[in-house]
Amino acid sequence: MADTFTLHLKVWRQAGPDQDGKLVDYTVDNVNEHMSFLEMLDVLNEQIVAEGREEPIEFDYDCREGICGSCDLVINGRAHGPKAMTCTCQLHMRNYSDGDTIVIEPFRAKGFPVIKDLVVDRSAFDRIIEAGGYVSVRTGAAPDANSIPIEKSVADTAFDYATCIGCGACVAACPNSSASLFTGAKLAHLNRLPQGEPERKRRTVAMVEQMEKEGFGDCSNYAECEAVCPKGISISAIAEMRRNYMKAAFAGEEL
């Protein structure tokens, strides 16, 4: 069996949205290299529940296989931890060693208010999609699927942008708390497809403006978002979004 080891954690505890939070120290023994990061936190929570002195640590998770986008921890200052292209739930403890200290914080941004401990409210992302992140086609109104041929490279690139899981790491990593990579990725997915073309301008302007309304900052090309994105989405999406936005918003065309 694999060796077990001990870790020291500093975990952000915050009782509610309007309360002050602080980092609290914990020690976890018997960490196994095959555990996922969240399983390590499960073990800590079981320890906290057994001791009964305080409430367990709240954190979001669901699929635990890197696709639902629920998990959202800043680990030693980096959204989703040290491994590139990896969600918190896919991070395994073999990346750590005996005696390490790990600081665990929520995704921090004005647009992501804390609910409790490490749980934040990311509903701003839903409202950005609501503003225009779709193709307006009613159920039943579709032509035969093969009546719209799409160049393979275009379809593949659209897919690459469509793989965004909406976790918000891009916002957490950005010094400006910008949601440009999230918004740009959806625009880059839909705007390049023939199905998305008719609404391209309207969609771009609506989503960009909603992003600003939600309190997310501007993009200053730090590219921190791309570095932490668990799906490796390229910041080319942001350049494309700006180009489309400029053309649509300032060309004086009717939207």
Partner: protein
């Protein structure tokens, strides 16, 4: 309990079109007078909510996640079937229907399964129009691949993230309706009870998972699309929050629970590594297109797999099933993995794993081609196990994945409770005793986009609904009931964690109600679950408060329901004294371990009616006979 399936008469091919012709309509100006609640935002719930709202109904949509986009449909990897016959390999609607009903070992309704195959093509059209980026060929047209249980290539896919892309399509369609004010969206809300007035479903009670508030919601119809109950096994490929609570509470209000013992164990998952394990990760079935499944011929052979020469490898699926090879249906693949491991030929530290080897495929097609097809799955595997599947074979083992059973529904997808519709994995309808790969996405979207929107209208057109509001005593009673249940859970203040109870339940289920079952084991399981349930209510420790964000409290409520459902599953498995699909009774198998059905006695849907819990679960069995007018029942053969 009335189990009238309401299947239209006439030839199989014409039933759905005839039904659509006969279905009652609600005029546009009246649609806006009707409120419809949709619980769950996966493929079925999301597509139903969007389509109902497009028609003009006022939809309230609820999910337990922090966004509708996170429902567990998102994790489906491999693909979605449709009878488009784009590859020109002889596929037809009949063939898709036949494969599905045969794959389900003749334990589903012909009419529902045929309709599913008919609708399959419309789903692909709809998804493409929404901008779902399916894989394409260089000519710009859609690509297909093969999946288990079929001899044609009919599976559409978006790399290994087909569920994600289809779900985002449905989610985006929903968000468009939220924007238009036709859907009110409630995230982080959990349904805790169904409200019945005058014998009809008229609303739900929820808990706001952030504030803990118990809330009441009224409607003219309720659509339940809350997924399956695989997490009764604790370890499964389901998301951690997937649960049976909404469906189980409907069952306790009178909805029949059908075929609870039909559980699909997926053959290709990453094996368990230790006690701390919180979930199991599936590796898409599509991998069996190119990966070869084998174990060493010699028992306990602990040489590294690449050092084991060809003649000492047992490619057991290819040898036993030459016609389908590695692409046999899931139940057959899972059972055979168990058989070879039980014989001592399993690999890895626990001996409970088999190899899935890409060496030959990489040699044949090159690393680049394999990477294009499965790149993200290989990365996922390496992330979890630390092994690189381009260099060494994957180690895989079966894990609980999907539940074919669920709430009983008629042809309109309405349960026996008027006004309560059930869609997607939460119902029992289309897959019989075993679901074929790439059929879950098809069913969820078929139910949500193309069936529910019509059949809900058919119900509302002449439903006589009482004028009520949420102060009606039925709402008082349901809300008080939900609150009491929570208070009771918090009040026990015992010594044992919710997770320990769940893990123990899971172990009983896996050992005795898992890949294979027998009379003695099932009887033991029933009494062990009863004991565990009693201990739970005396000794569970639920930390925290009711009026706050409290994940442990959420889980405690779900585990309490699983502790009842588990007993029903064992009893259903015990009563079904035959083997069928995923339900293998050891008393009824061939020498080679194939399932032997008993069509004379068990060709029916078992729908259980809840009576009470009094130490033991009290349930009454009702039967809907399955009549096969159009297909001939045969012993399944994939040889």
């Amino acid at each position: 309990m009335n189990l009238d399936s309401k299947v239209p008469s006439g030839p199989l091919e014409d039933k759905w079109s005839k039904h659509l012709k006969d279905i009652k309509l609600v005029a546009p100006n009246n649609k806006r007078k009707h409120d419809v609640i949709v619980v769950g935002t996966g493929l079925a719930g999301g597509s139903a909510a969007a389509s109902l709202a497009e028609l003009g109904y006022n939809v309230k949509s609820f999910c337990i996640q922090d966004s509708a986009r996170r429902a567990h449909s998102i994790a489906a990897q491999g693909g979605i079937n449709a009878a488009k016959n784009y590859p020109n390999d002889g596929d037809t609607i009949w063939r898709l229907f036949y494969d599905t009903i045969k794959g389900g070992d003749y334990r589903s309704r012909e009419s529902n399964t045929y309709r599913l195959a008919q609708i399959s093509n419309e789903i692909i059209d709809q998804a493409v129009a929404q901008g779902v980026p399916f894989a394409r060929e260089y000519g710009g047209l859609l690509a297909n691949r093969s999946f288990g249980g079929a001899q044609v290539s009919r599976t559409f896919y978006a790399r290994g993230q087909t569920g994600q892309q289809l779900l985002l399509g449905a989610y985006q369609a929903m968000m468009r309706q939220v924007h238009d004010g036709k859907i009110e969206m409630y995230t982080r809300h959990e349904m805790l009870d169904l409200v019945m007035v005058g014998g009809k479903a008229r609303g739900i009670v929820t808990r706001d998972l952030v504030s803990g508030e118990i809330q009441r919601w009224m409607a003219d119809a309720v659509v339940l699309a809350t997924g399956g109950y695989g997490n009764v096994f604790y370890l499964s490929t389901n998301a951690k929050n997937s649960n049976v609570t909404a469906a189980w509470r409907c069952h306790k209000r009178g909805a029949g629970f059908a075929n609870p013992c039909y559980v699909q164990i997926h053959p290709t998952c990453i094996p368990v590594s230790g006690d701390y394990q919180s979930k199991l990760t599936l590796m898409s079935e599509s991998l069996r297109n190119d990966g070869r499944v084998w174990v060493p011929k010699k028992k306990g052979d602990d040489r590294p797999p690449n050092d084991i020469p060809e003649e000492e490898r047992y490619y057991y699926l290819e040898e036993k099933y030459p016609a389908f090879g590695n692409l046999v249906p899931r139940d057959v693949a899972s059972r055979n993995a168990k058989i070879v491991c039980d014989k001592g030929m399993g690999v890895g530290p626990t001996g409970r794993a088999v190899y899935l080897d890409f060496r030959d495929a990489i040699k044949r097609d090159g690393r680049k081609t394999i990477s294009e097809k499965y790149g993200n799955l290989f990365e996922m595997y390496e992330n979890i196990t630390g092994d690189n599947p381009y260099e060494v074979p994957m180690r895989i083992f079966p894990a609980v994945h999907y539940t074919m059973g669920g709430l009983w529904v008629d042809y309109n997808l309405m349960s026996n409770v008027p006004g309560l519709f059930v869609a997607g994995e939460a119902n029992f309808s289309d897959h019989g005793a075993n679901r074929l790969g790439a059929s879950a996405l098809m069913q969820g979207l078929s139910d949500g986009y193309f069936i529910i929107p019509y059949t809900v209208g058919n119900y509302l057109a002449d439903a006589e609904l009482d004028e009520i509001d949420t102060t009606h005593q039925a709402f008082d009673e349901a809300a008080a009931n939900a609150q009491q249940h929570i208070d009771k859970l918090l009040g026990v203040q015992g010594d044992k964690s919710v997770i320990d109870f769940h893990r123990e339940l899971g172990q009983i289920m896996w050992d005795k109600v898992g890949i294979s079952r027998n009379e003695e084991g099932l009887k033991q399981a029933i009494s062990e679950i009863q004991e565990l349930r009693e201990e739970f209510w005396q000794n569970v420790r639920v930390p925290g408060e009711a009026a706050n964000y409290n994940k442990y409290l959420e889980f405690a409520g779900r585990v309490a329901d699983f502790l009842e459902l588990g007993e029903l599953m064992a009893r259903d498995a015990l009563h079904r004294d035959e083997s069928a699909g995923c339900h293998l009774r050891e008393e009824h198998q061939s020498e080679e371990g194939e399932a032997i059905r008993n069509d004379e006695e068990y060709s029916y849907v078992a729908a259980w009616e809840f009576q009470g819990v009094n130490g033991q679960l009290q349930e009454e069995l009702h039967k809907e006979n399955l009549e096969f007018e159009f297909v001939e029942l045969k012993q399944r053969s994939y040889k």
